[in-house]
Symmetry: C2
């Protein structure tokens, strides 16, 4: 600790002086991430609801205002805050455009409103208020001096009447004029006003940062011919297949040249056959590095065609950026100073002792020349941004410095404010959350391993009902090339149905790794492992896209429901409801009039039934009238009544209801009248 | 918000650079009050247990240290922090002397410990570690350069052995030497070390700030003769009466001359008779102000005698400081600029509209000449401090600016670090807490109105088990001249017994206003009021000190128990235990081996019984063996066994047990063997 820092801090204990002095305290402001070091996140149309403890000594009336502005606007917009009780105050503003917003607070002792409040009490108690009227007139005159001409005239006239020659009773009534009171209060004295002293930021992302449906695929497996290396054109041919399912993000693992040195064989074997394609994450070879495309996948032109054709079908392309090299990456020759060396002069491979990843050479983000390294990393993102890419799925960000991401995302975002970064960090919660604070717009999370009712309820309550939601946007993946959970391995096709419905309704953003997912691929490499058997990470696979067991139609319905119901396009309204069966999970989301209630049977093996408790009034329904539950997956309609209703779900048929609540709009017994 | 402040804040969003860069994050530090703006509070012998979230990217080992020092010492003392799991770290230090302490944190990536950890794993996996040994030797040599000569020699020798010519297997074993590993880790590189960047303070008060037993009295009622004005000499005569009850603080309401103008008569009447003595809080007359003594109470010499004689009987004198004036106070003539005036030129009296306090003229702490006013207020405290007073009960601090108290207490404390300020603020919780943060060492609180089990459990859990305890020390008053609760009005003598036992066991600090309390005075001025009928605030009272119904002996026992049991001398160990009867409250406190379990019947009218659940093991008892519950109020001894035991309490006999837990020390059936 430097002496300067100590002195600066110690001075904090001495700020209590008669000269530099305000009676009002503003503290415990929310939302505020790490004392304002990080922004909260929003998309256009969302509100920032700001609360604070605001109080002073004594019994004077206080006023407080929320100040906000788009970053580029010089002028603050002021919103009055209102007291919620117990010295807590609140106001909110909506972000409209895509620009970032700033906000802060101020508060002041309000002698005018104090006077008006007290005058009312004095009049009620039939006290002599002659002197009080003169006091008030003085306050109003002072306010008039701070008001524009027209208002000033009205206030001066009011003050004159109040302190004039008329009967006290009449003047008292004039003093209580609510409109003029409001007007005068708009021009408070700066004396006694305190600023919060910290400007906070709301970072505004585009809508897709909040609401997105991801599909991940390995292009090399998408060729119909046996043993043939698929390419980007094969993916183009099958775009209708993906678009049919209703996804809006098409995410490709790294598409770069793959190293040959210490390339991994099938099932991650050290014994690599000549025909083995290697892991796409072992990036770089003589053919190029992070800004090149693997020749067997196609050309930059193919890439551009795929980008355009996908866009035409509503699919935005997302790339995987993995900041690491194969031993053959050109960087190792061009910039050996960016890597760690062993005492024998060889480059240090990636490892998590005793495990070694021989085909990967990590960067040393702390190296002497790190400024150049960091710049080059930024250039990779900018290169793909120049190709139109705005969605980056970042591989293992938690193994690179947190400050690096803070810097890099800010840099890329400055040039491309519409870029979206998805953090693939499966690590300890505090590191995951810090990456989100540092700027990642979406985050992988523990959803794959939250399977029972308590786990799901606790975790999604934490993510959606605590301050974590201000900066951490979960993206719920059913599976990834690294993660085939035991729930999927042992649950069969119903388990896949359950997990995709959970992902798509608990999460405004979710994703599947296909076609492994929709084809219900459940074979793991070994017991207790989450690796796929014959993983696409190390070999070409062929997929039976038209299998009758495919879940593609269910997924298409799910995504249609998501698109058609705003309630499912954000997470903050999530509420869990009681069911008297621990295998049934029930929760709702709402957006205005749009209310979705999901009921999921978490048991992939058995039919489960139970009684659901919910308060119809909570959803704006008349508790005395029946209401309709319209299952958007099956189109079945059920009539419910009151706070307790029965459900029964068979995993073999459909393990979930996704109900839309429909209110009765006419009294005739006709379902069409439910809206 | 000034543009400078905005710029300063916005720069906060840009701190992510490659040059200025540390991988380690320290956040969520506790205890820390309002970002370090206020100190935590301790007394000598207490510990400050510091926790923080500390983490970095990747898998490297981190080390962290707590740094602390007495404020006057230039050198930080370093304590290693230990990880608690989930990236939470902890260390603690004890404050010894009465000086204030500072503390802060640092943390760093520890390559040496990372290397040792990984080496172990590599050896277990039978990997070739030749290169790793050379890497380690380099790290150790680097550490040796930061070590003093003798340690440096040992480290260099170690490094030489590890990287030497011996067999790898032997060298690997040498490398794993735990002692040398410890030694090397004591000299980490500064590279990658991050300081918390904020110095926090632990303010150290004397013991009585935490543990004190207060007795409040009006000296003018302590003369035995009818209608005679009592004085300080009368109090001296009765000191043995107070000392017998075992109190250690004797607190007197204001002892200053009382104004005559608009003096209040009996029962707060506006109609004042010539013989009415007036309210002691209407301070100041022709005879003097805040630094004078009411002539009818005695002289400064009498005061000094009382001070000395009280001290001889273990009673420290505390004065009430009420920063307000009667209309006759000399200040109004000498410093009219310190007061607010009405438009007719008269001074503004105190009011809370529509209520008026005609006999009180408040200061205007915001007046132009406030620097002089604040200084004079400080002089009042310093004057009484010069008379030996170190305990100040401050009247209504919440009606004076919070900053004023921050300033004043710091000023007085600088000259008299042993001063104790008790805040008499019955107001909204956030204001009460802020006054405590601003420096008050003890605080009145809502105890008088917390009567049932849920209220008491919730409130004292909040006060003793949340971060509030770091700055807010409750002083539990059974009654005050302003507060005769309905519980006491309607509960009869048992209610008084119940409340004093609760106060003295729930609170390490507590107080009673006597003799009204021990004589069970329960008559209120009117229904729904908490004012005493014939309140001493406005008239002389005579008390029957020797009434057979007096609770003085119970109180004497209670205070003896408090003095004899360290468990009751602090609040943080408070735990509530389940009883299957909502009229019975059971809680424990402990200090080392000293364990007190209190059971209180909250119903002053009926006998109550129930079964108490507690885990004997929690108190270090053998759950299989009987243990003895020694009731320190009645000296009765009960044998309990296991986790569930029966109690029965009759309010007419004694509504509470204060048990001391006694463990069996020999196996014979002899109660004397319980310690």
């Amino acid at each position: 600790m430097s002496p300067r820092a100590v002195a600066a801090q110690e001075s904090g204990f001495k700020r209590q002086t008669a000269a530099n002095f305000s009676r009002v305290v503003i503290e415990n402001v929310a939302p505020e991430i790490e004392e304002g070091a990080f922004p909260v996140k929003r998309v256009p149309g969302e509100a920032v609801r700001v609360e604070a403890d605001i109080f002073a000594d004594g019994h004077d009336e206080l006023s407080a205002a929320l100040l906000y502005r788009p970053r580029s606007e010089p002028k603050w917009i002021e919103v009055p805050m209102r007291p919620l009780g117990n010295d807590r105050w609140r106001a909110e503003f909506a972000v409209t455009g895509r620009e970032d917003y700033l906000y802060t607070l101020k508060a002041w002792v309000d002698p005018l409103r104090t006077w008006l409040r007290d005058l009312k009490k004095r009049i009620e108690a039939a006290q002599d208020v002659a002197a009080d009227l003169r006091i008030g007139a003085t306050l109003i005159e002072a306010a008039s001096k701070r008001a524009p001409a027209q208002d000033a005239r009205r206030l001066r006239a009011w003050a004159a009447e109040i302190s004039g020659e008329g009967e006290i009773k009449n003047r008292a009534q004039i003093a209580l004029d609510a409109d003029l009171g409001e007007l005068a209060a708009r021009f408070p004295s700066k004396r006694g006003c305190v600023s919060y002293g910290r400007v906070l930021e709301a970072r505004v992302d585009r809508e897709k940062a909040r609401f997105s449906s991801w599909y991940e695929l390995f292009p090399r497996s998408w060729n119909a011919g046996p043993g043939r290396h698929g390419n980007l054109r094969d993916v183009i041919d099958r775009l209708p297949y993906i678009a049919h399912m209703g996804f809006d993000v098409l995410y490709l693992p790294p598409i770069h040249p793959i190293g040959r040195t210490r390339r991994k064989g099938k099932n991650n074997s050290l014994d690599c056959k000549p025909e083995d394609p290697g892991s796409p994450w072992a990036i770089g070879s003589a053919e190029g590095g992070h800004c090149s495309i693997h020749p067997q996948l196609g050309t930059l032109e193919d890439f551009q065609t795929l980008f355009r054709k996908a866009q035409e079908q509503g699919l935005e392309l997302a790339l995987d950026i993995a900041l690491q090299c194969s031993p053959d990456h050109p960087y190792l020759k061009e910039h050996p100073e960016w890597f760690r060396r062993r005492p024998d002069g060889t480059f240090q491979c990636a490892e998590n002792p005793p495990k070694k990843y021989e085909d990967i050479t990590p960067f040393n983000f702390e190296c002497e020349k790190r400024m150049e390294l960091w710049q080059e990393m930024k250039n990779i993102f900018l290169y793909w941004a120049a190709q139109g890419i705005r969605i980056f799925r970042v591989d293992n960000p938690h193994t690179k410095p947190l400050r690096f991401w803070e810097w890099l995302i800010a840099e890329v975002r400055r040039e491309h404010p519409d870029s979206i970064f998805l953090s693939e960090a499966f690590t300890r919660p505090k590191v995951m959350y810090r990456l989100a604070k540092a700027g990642f717009n979406q985050s992988y999370n523990y959803f794959p391993w939250r399977n029972n009712k308590k786990e799901l309820t606790d975790y999604f309550t934490e993510l959606t009902q605590t301050p974590i939601r201000e900066f951490f946007r979960p993206n719920l993946w059913t599976n990834t090339p690294d993660i085939l959970t035991e729930y999927l391995q042992y649950g069969g096709r119903p388990a896949f149905m359950i997990r995709v419905v959970l992902a798509g309704t608990l999460g405004a953003s979710y994703g599947i790794y296909g076609p492994a997912f929709e084809l219900c691929e459940g074979r793991a490499k070994g017991p207790g492992q989450e690796e796929y058997l014959d993983s696409e990470k190390y070999e070409l696979r062929r997929w039976d896209f038209e299998s009758p067991h495919s879940l593609k139609d269910l997924i298409a319905r799910l995504n249609r429901v998501r698109r058609g119901n705003p309630a499912l396009q954000s997470d903050w309204s999530l509420r869990f409801h009681r069911v008297d069966n621990d295998q049934l999970l029930c929760y709702s989301k709402r957006s205005g009039d749009n209310v979705i209630l999901a009921v999921v049977n978490l048991d992939p093996r058995h039919q489960q039934s139970g009684w659901i408790d919910l308060s119809p009034e909570e959803f704006g329904l008349d508790g005395q009238q029946p209401y309709q539950m319209h299952d958007l997956l099956t189109d079945a309609r059920y009539l419910w009544r009151g706070p307790r209703n029965y459900v029964e779900l068979s995993p073999e048929v459909c393990p979930a209801h996704i109900f839309r609540l429909r209110r009765r709009v006419r009294s005739e017994h006709d379902f069409d009248y439910f809206l």
